[in-house]
Subunit: 134 residues, 2 copies
């Protein structure tokens, strides 16, 4: 089946500019940044409030899409593993899932913490966390 | 930024054929089905084992991509909310995140439970759950 094109709903502004500087996962990060959402998607933000945890999908535009085996977290002692058994950024569709804490909401800008994603990365989607009320 | 094309890594076979029959979320579902992965992605499955919980990304090919406000879970009493503050299937990039239990692995076929997704839905990605060891 042919899939339609992705839409870029916004872009991340942060201070992580190299892969070496990126925390290995959002659950061990307290790095802050701003999700800039494009004006045509502003209505979709209605209901997001500070203090909430949101699930954000990013398109990892610098990831290699043709790798199917990796050393998990770069640890060669455990051998190669299929990318679908890991959370490696390298995969056929390099979509990252981050759970981020909303610090502030200012129109099209959401200040968040918990980032493990490079500055300039396109945003695909924001969802309510399953365990959040509402 | 223009985003590259998604790749369809496989397809879901299940017994949910209408939206009315679909559970509202995977966390309240015990429906079973099979993830059929296409042969060119088989190497990526190495390391997925029965008993594990995996995170599966689906492309909701029947969802409306032009809606930005919804009644959460169809409940009109609470008013409209932005799609990014919900887990509605309708959203600019209709990507669903499901946590599924792996019941069996047979080559390119993964038997899973916990489905809330329609039969025939394209699969985009499989990831290790963050809280799983490994």
């Amino acid at each position: 089946m042919d899939l339609p094109e992705l839409r870029c709903i916004g872009v991340l502004h942060g201070d992580i500019t190299t892969c070496e500087d990126a925390p290995k996962n959002f659950d061990i990060s307290n790095r802050k940044g701003t999700l800039e959402i494009y004006p045509e998607y502003q209505q979709g933000l209605d209901g997001i409030v500070p203090g909430q945890t949101i699930v954000v999908l990013f398109w990892l535009h610098r990831a290699n899409r043709d790798i199917l085996k990796v050393y998990p977290r770069g640890d060669r002692s455990r051998g190669l593993r299929g990318v679908f058994a890991t959370r490696s950024p390298a995969r056929p569709n390099p979509i990252a899932i981050s759970e981020l804490k909303v610090l502030a909401v200012d129109g099209l800008h959401l200040q968040v913490s918990g980032l493990d994603i490079l500055d300039g990365t396109p945003i695909l989607d924001i969802k309510k966390k399953l365990s959040e009320p509402g």
